[in-house]
Symmetry: C2
Subunit: 205 residues, 2 copies
Amino acid sequence: MIDVRMLCLAALMGHEASGYDIKKELEKGGSTGLVDASFGSIYPALARLAEDGLITARTEGGRGRTGKTIYAITAEGRAHFLKTLSGPIPEEKYRSPFLFAMLFADELPRERVRVMIDQQIAQWEEKIAAVEASRAAGPGGAGASFVFGFGEATLRAGLEFLKRHRRAVEMGARDAAPPAPTQYRAGDRPDAMTEPAAAAALRTP
Amino acid sequence: MIDVRMLCLAALMGHEASGYDIKKELEKGGSTGLVDASFGSIYPALARLAEDGLITARTEGGRGRTGKTIYAITAEGRAHFLKTLSGPIPEEKYRSPFLFAMLFADELPRERVRVMIDQQIAQWEEKIAAVEASRAAGPGGAGASFVFGFGEATLRAGLEFLKRHRRAVEMGARDAAPPAPTQYRAGDRPDAMTEPAAAAALRTP
DNA sequence: GCCCCGCTATATCGAACCGAAATATGGGCG
DNA sequence: CGCCCATATTTCGGTTCGATATAGCGGGGC
């Protein structure tokens, strides 16, 4: 299981850090978007890890308000981390609000769909650039190189597919103005023929 | 924002359904893994949607314990759904425990890495088959076709990349037995030279 | 010199969501 | 007949998010 505690241990596998450091490394680190966690979960996680002896805490600076608490992983922490990593692997999850919206592109105004696609293209191009920067930054082990390469390969494949097929999606979108959904009179249930194809897509086995 | 309420509305865009139906459609529907929600969030979401007049509730069967409550989307519900879909699109999230583990492949026993990769290949091949089945099942609108095509394209790209580069990852893995992490004597902090490359990967800008 | 802004750094808290168990019932199957 | 499975919903503890509060410190602009 990959909870916030595991993410913290992962970050600390390399070097000691404060909670703030960990947050930034997670959100700006290699393969951005692969991992993340909020402060609201990182700090409690670090406290529990310290309790369990998987990490040690050291305060640096006045500790009134300024000054930080720096954590370092212990030998038990390393062992626990690698042991958990070797355990059962839960299923991956890909949550894409963009793709979700595209499922209903046929019901959305064409202009809006166009903008969404443009934004998505820009976002993916940014991510590809970030991954390439990470790859160029350091040699990294075989595992890290693989993850970077994987990210780049899939991002490129998705980007290319989007560029090649965006026209079809845009053509399928609503010609007219803002959200003008298929309307049914009260008591009128849509049957198989009138059902929007997008909703059917959610259901097909 | 795509919360559970939006997922319920999406499912109801096509046809009326019970909470149980919605759950199954989400987890088995097209592009499996794109969306999901638990019962513990679906039922409260449906109750709130009914309160807000975005869906209507109808009980079917005895309603003692047997019998279900069937929900149907209203005109306001449709309008609300499409309007929200047209709103700002949050960033996508890809959480892959497998890739996360691969980041640290260099610290894991080779045999374990091999098994993980085998499982991942099998999982992706299953998903590709599922997407193809969905695609073949019905024509679907332009949007849905695009999403299916996208899923297939990226899955294939990832699968191919994994098959082509798995050997490098396996070679980088620990030759020896179970989790034998790099050990540091107490008080011995790893510096840039001894830092595991995987952890560096999390940090690289 | 002063003020405002942004970065560092941590804490807090309500809301959302998950995941698993509990409950109840009807149907298939050996 | 008994058992397991599918349907259908509720409940609940635990995790995580996301936003807000607090506070010192360094730098840019005027």
